[in-house]
C-alpha cells in the first residue's frame, strides 16, 4: 500500500508535471501565445493528476501505472533536456 501511495503522489506528480511541460511546448510550437499555453496547462494538469492518482489506487496490477508513469516522466524530462528551457 505504501508503494501505491508513493507512486500516486510522487510518481503522479512528476508524470503530470512532465505531461504539462510536453503539452505547453507543443501548444507553443503550434503557435499559441506562451501565457495562454501555460494557463491552459495549469488548468488541465490538476484534473490529469487527479485521474492518475485515482488510477494508481484503482488498478489491480500495479505494473501498468508504473510503466505509463515512468514513460511520461522519461519523455517529459527527455524533451525539456533536448529542447532546453524557453526564453
Amino acid at each position: 500500500m505504501i508503494g501505491r501511495i508513493l507512486l500516486a503522489t510522487g510518481g503522479g506528480y512528476f508524470a503530470s508535471s512532465s505531461a504539462m511541460a510536453i503539452f505547453c511546448l507543443l501548444l507553443v510550437t503550434l503557435g499559441m501565445p506562451r501565457a495562454d499555453a501555460v494557463t491552459l496547462g495549469i488548468i488541465l494538469v490538476f484534473a490529469f493528476y487527479l485521474c492518475l492518482i485515482l488510477w494508481v489506487f484503482a488498478a489491480r496490477a500495479l505494473w501498468r501505472p508504473v510503466a505509463v508513469l515512468s514513460l511520461l516522466i522519461a519523455s517529459g524530462y527527455g524533451l525539456t533536456a533536448f529542447v532546453g528551457h524557453g526564453g
Binding site: M20, A21, F23, C24, L25, I42, F46, I53, A58, G87
Partner: protein, 517 residues
C-alpha cells in the same frame, strides 16, 4: 471487480480523510473566515471604524509617505484606496528587511494609530494558503497536497456513496449518532459538492505556477516571467536604475488612467522602484462589479509620466482562469453572495468534521481503547473545536492586549499569534488526555470565549451590538458580534445536549453544531 474497485476507493477515502482531514479543516476554516477578512479587520482595528468619506483625498496627499519610502530605499510603495468594504486608505512599502503598512484616515489624511495586529488580512487569510509556514514553500506545498486529497476525497466519496439519488434528501435527526453523522456527512458532501470541488480546484489553479513549475519553465525562462506576462505586468521587469529621479504627479497620471478605463476608479496605485530612474507608476482598476478578475493595469514611466503599457484584452483561456480565480478570491462586492459563501464554507467544515466523527463513532465500540483510536480522537478535537477555540483566543487577545504590549521581546501582533498557537496546542492536549468529556468541554469553552469576545469588544470600544446595528458603517462589527453570539449559543446548546446524553449513559458525540463559532 466492481466490488473490489469500490473497496479500494473506500480505503482511499477513509485514510486520505483521516490523515489530511486536520489540515483540510484548518484550510477550510480559515478560508471561510477570509470571506469576511476586511470586516474582521474592522473588528480587530477599532481605530479604522470610520464613516466613509464623502469625497476621496487627492493621491498627492500621500506624497510624504512616498518620500519616506524613497528615503528608506523601498523596492515598492503602494496605496490602497477606500471601497465600500474598507473605509480607510492603506499605504504599504517594502524594503529588503520588512514591509511597513499604515492605515490613513480618509477625511483628514492623517495616519491612524498602529493597531498592533495582523488582523484577518495579515494572519487568517495567509494561513488559509500557507498555514503560516514561511519555510521555503513548505506551507503552500502542504496546502496543495491537501487540496489534491480533497479532490480525491470528493470523487471517491461519490463513488462509495451507495444510494446517492435514493438518499438524496435523507436526514434522520432522531436516528442513532452514527447514522445521523453519516446523514450529515452525506448531505453536506452531496449538496455542497459543486462548492467543494470548484473552490478546491480554483484554489489549486491560482497557485498552479507554484505547484507545477516544470510546465512554466518549459516555455518561460522563469516563473516570474510567466507571472508578469499573464498579468500584464511586464513593465516591471526593468533594471534597478540610478537614484535621485523624481516621481511625477500621481493625480495627473491617475486621471489619464481613469479616462483610459472610461471613468472607472483605481483600487491600488503602485510605484515600483520609487525614486529610481526606472521607476514605474501603475494603476490597478477596482474589481468590485464583476466576477472575472481583470485589473486592466495601466503603467506610466515614473520620472516622465509617459504611458508605458496597458494590460491586453483577456484571451478566452485567460478569461476562464480569471473567472476561476474570481470565484475563489471573491474580490467582487455582493453582500448576499458573500454570506452564501460563508455559509457554504461552514458546510465544508461540517463535512470534514462529520467525516472524522463518523470514523470515530464506527470504531468506538470495537477499538475505543486503542492507541490509534485515541490518537485520532485527540486529533479530531484539536483540529475541529481546537482551531475554533484558537481563533477565538486570537480575537480575545486582540481586545485584551494593551497597545504597544511587549513580552519576551515579542511585538503585540506576534503575541496575538502566540495566543492562537498556545490555545490550539492546549486543545490537542486536552483531546488526548481527557477524551471522554472533550466535546462537552470544548463546546462549552467555545460558547464562553465567543461571548467573552463580544463583551470585550463592547468594553474596550463602546461599540455594543445595539449601537453598531444603527450605524451603517459599523454593520461589519455588528455582523461579527452577531456571528460570535449565534455560534456561541449553538455551541452551548451542543454542550448541554451532549452532557445530557452522557448522563443518560449513551456515549454519543454530536458536536456538529459547534462549527459555527
Amino acid at each position: 471487480m466492481k466490488q473490489d474497485f469500490r473497496r479500494s476507493m473506500g480505503w482511499l477515502h477513509t485514510w486520505a480523510g483521516v490523515v489530511l482531514g486536520s489540515i483540510l479543516f484548518a484550510i477550510f476554516w480559515m478560508g471561510t473566515l477570509s470571506v469576511f477578512d476586511s470586516e474582521i479587520d474592522l473588528w480587530m482595528k477599532p481605530a479604522t471604524r470610520l464613516a466613509p468619506a464623502v469625497s476621496t483625498l487627492p493621491l498627492e496627499s500621500f506624497r510624504s509617505s512616498l518620500e519616506e519610502a524613497i528615503s528608506a530605499k523601498a523596492a515598492f510603495w503602494n496605496v490602497t484606496l477606500p471601497s465600500d468594504r474598507d473605509a480607510v486608505f492603506h499605504t504599504h512599502y517594502g524594503t529588503r528587511k520588512k514591509t511597513i503598512i499604515r492605515d490613513i484616515d480618509p477625511v483628514t489624511g492623517r495616519e491612524l494609530p498602529d493597531a498592533g495586529t495582523l488582523g484577518a488580512t495579515g494572519f487568517i487569510f495567509p494561513f488559509h494558503y500557507t498555514l503560516n509556514t514561511e519555510l521555503m514553500n513548505l506551507g503552500e506545498c502542504v496546502v496543495g497536497l491537501a487540496s489534491m486529497a480533497m479532490l480525491v476525497l470528493c470523487v471517491t466519496g461519490v463513488i462509495i456513496h451507495r444510494k446517492i439519488f435514493v438518499d438524496f434528501f435523507t436526514f434522520r435527526p432522531r436516528a442513532n449518532p452514527r447514522r445521523l453523522l453519516l446523514d450529515l456527512h452525506n448531505i453536506s458532501g452531496v449538496f455542497g459538492l459543486p462548492f467543494h470541488i470548484v473552490l478546491t480546484f480554483s484554489g489549486l489553479v491560482i497557485l498552479g505556477a507554484t505547484y507545477f513549475p516544470a510546465g512554466v519553465s518549459a516555455v518561460y525562462p522563469n516563473t516570474r516571467a510567466y507571472f508578469f506576462d499573464s498579468n500584464g505586468l511586464s513593465f516591471l521587469s526593468v533594471k534597478h536604475g540610478n537614484p535621485g529621479a523624481p516621481v511625477v504627479s500621481l493625480d495627473e497620471t491617475a486621471m489619464r488612467a481613469r479616462s483610459l478605463w472610461g471613468g472607472d476608479e483605481p483600487h491600488l496605485v503602485l510605484v515600483a522602484n520609487p525614486g529610481m530612474t526606472t521607476s514605474r507608476i501603475a494603476f490597478f482598476r477596482g474589481n468590485e462589479r464583476q466576477v472575472v478578475v481583470d485589473r486592466d493595469v495601466v503603467a506610466f514611466d515614473g520620472p516622465t509620466g509617459e504611458l508605458l503599457s496597458r494590460s491586453p484584452r483577456l484571451t478566452p483561456i485567460m478569461r476562464a482562469q480569471r473567472f476561476l480565480s474570481g470565484v475563489h478570491l471573491i474580490e467582487f462586492h455582493h453582500w448576499v453572495l458573500r454570506w452564501l459563501y460563508f455559509v457554504l464554507g461552514l458546510g465544508s467544515c461540517v463535512l470534514i468534521a462529520t467525516g472524522f466523527l463518523f470514523w470515530l463513532e464506527s470504531r468506538r465500540k470495537k477499538q475505543g481503547e486503542n492507541f490509534g483510536f485515541r490518537l485520532v480522537e485527540g486529533l479530531t478535537a484539536g483540529s475541529v473545536t481546537g482551531i475554533i477555540l484558537a481563533t477565538l483566543a486570537f480575537f480575545i487577545a486582540n481586545r485584551l492586549l494593551p497597545p504597544g504590549a511587549q513580552v519576551f521581546g515579542l511585538e503585540r501582533a506576534a503575541l496575538e499569534v502566540w495566543a492562537f498557537y498556545l490555545v490550539w496546542i492546549a486543545a490537542f492536549l486536552h483531546g488526548w488526555m481527557w477524551p471522554r468529556r472533550v466535546w462537552i468541554g470544548q463546546s462549552a469553552a467555545i460558547s464562553a470565549l465567543a461571548l467573552t469576545a463580544v463583551v470585550l469588544n463592547w468594553i474596550t470600544t463602546g461599540d455594543h451590538p445595539l449601537h453598531t446595528l444603527f450605524h451603517r458603517y459599523l454593520w461589519p462589527v455588528a455582523g461579527m458580534d452577531g456571528v460570535l453570539l449565534a455560534g456561541g449559543a449553538l455551541a452551548l446548546l451542543t454542550a448541554v445536549k451532549l452532557s445530557r446524553r452522557m448522563q443518560n449513559g449513551a456515549v454519543g458525540s454530536r458536536p456538529v453544531a459547534s462549527e459555527t463559532a
